[in-house]
Amino acid sequence: MRIAIVGAGQAGVQLATSLRSLGHDGPVVLIGAEPGLPYQRPPLSKGFLAGTTPAEELDLRERSYLDGVGIDLRAGRTVVEATLGDEGGTLRLDDGSEVAFDALALATGATSRTLPVPGGDLPGVLGLRTVADAEALRAGLAGATDVVVVGGGFIGLEVAATARAQGRRVTVVEAADRLLARVVSEPFSAHVRAWHEAQGTTILTGAAVSGLTGGPDGVTGVTLADGTTLPADVVVTGIGAVPACDLARALGLSVERGIVADEHGRTSHPRVVAIGDCAVQPHPHEPDRLLGVESVNNAVEQATAAASVLLGQEPAPRGVPWFWSNQGELKLQLAGISDGHDERVVRGGGERLTVLYYRRGRLIAADVADNPRDFNAVKSALAKGATIDPRAAIDSEVPLRSLISEPVPA
């Protein structure tokens, strides 16, 4: 069986290598739009931006390994035309070459949302998705005094922490009334805000950007809806990403906000899987809704499962979803999907904070700041289908691990 993978990020590379470890010995072609070896993105807003993580460290695999296991990497290539029938199809690449496949994996990722305001495309207004973006941002930060980060999500806050540690004056502008509003609850948002403010970063919430000022030499300021203008030498946008679904649409696959897939990557076409940031999958607590899960963990696990699907094997059950964000010395770890919770318990305070989330009396997730013991306890409770007594969990002197129940039937 000939397998083509479009997208050579974390998910695409994982799928390719999983196919080999599952014993597939047919052709595997891995097509990536960016030049060079496939790389990991998480350090782009952290160590790579700070200059402490060298570029070689970003590579996901050595070339000798890819060559050795026969993964045919087509780096710097895009798909310009594609056909798909019941038995497979063909991709035509921008160098004129053709890749015929019996099964296709879409791992096309997502693209950064751009600021839809006047001046949003001035020089010095930078997003962060690719290594090229990160190099441009690193160069921009080097000469900057004032840095404005638009968007108080994970990437924006990671960049803010990195820039602040370099001594820049940093302001984070967030349209919602709190940081990380889409993902975490109020007490956790407040904890993260306090940490950044203690570093000397200015956090503005409920603040909408109405325009950027500057000229051909670059951006000079950010104007807010209330008329305030913030000085800026560099503006970093971290306002979310849009799944890349053009190819999926062209092939007639079912697409909503992302490519519609199940947790194992199966799409509306039996010969096609979709994995990672480009896909949406059923919400774990509310299966009628579709959820995009933009994380390394999801990319890796969905890709591993999809490799089994393509080879006609039964995929291993998915593990507990989890996510991390290192913002300077602040270490956030999230386990489970908290969206859909109806009760929460705040544990700790001061330097460490844990928020546990419950749905119908049962533990579904936790957000943890600087407390790996709590994170691990929640992850293992969720992995074995157990819960943690919310009343007992309030006392942060009691180890969460000691409160894990026996597995509870769903």
Partner: protein
């Protein structure tokens, strides 16, 4: 380049040359050494790169740091005083010939 000698969960051995400054986790993942997952890419967040350092070399690598130790406490394979998260061991010339046994289960 310093060499790392991995003993994989199935008992097989792999010798891999590491870039100076590369971590023991990163070197394993990039060369397809089985058993080390390294899901967080070295962010000290996932404890899926647990190894046991050879008893004669643990003084060279040093013991786990505080946060690392807390991550290791609940590792799927129970930790010992030789346990490290291999993302936290950076290769130097002094570590040439480092022997690590990869924990049987990581997640």
């Amino acid at each position: 380049m310093p060499t790392i000698e991995y003993t994989c969960p199935d008992g097989s051995r792999r010798d891999v040359e590491a870039r100076l400054g590369a971590s023991v986790m990163e070197t394993a993942v990039k060369h397809g050494v089985p058993g080390i997952v390294g899901e967080c890419g070295g962010g000290l967040s996932c404890a899926t790169c647990h190894v046991f350092v050879d008893v004669e070399q643990i003084d060279l690598t040093g013991p786990a740091t505080d946060f690392e130790e807390e991550m290791l406490e609940d590792a799927v394979t129970p930790p010992t005083e030789l346990s490290r998260l291999s993302c936290q061991i950076r290769m130097t010339d002094e570590l040439d010939g480092l022997r690590v046994q990869i924990a049987k289960e990581q997640q």
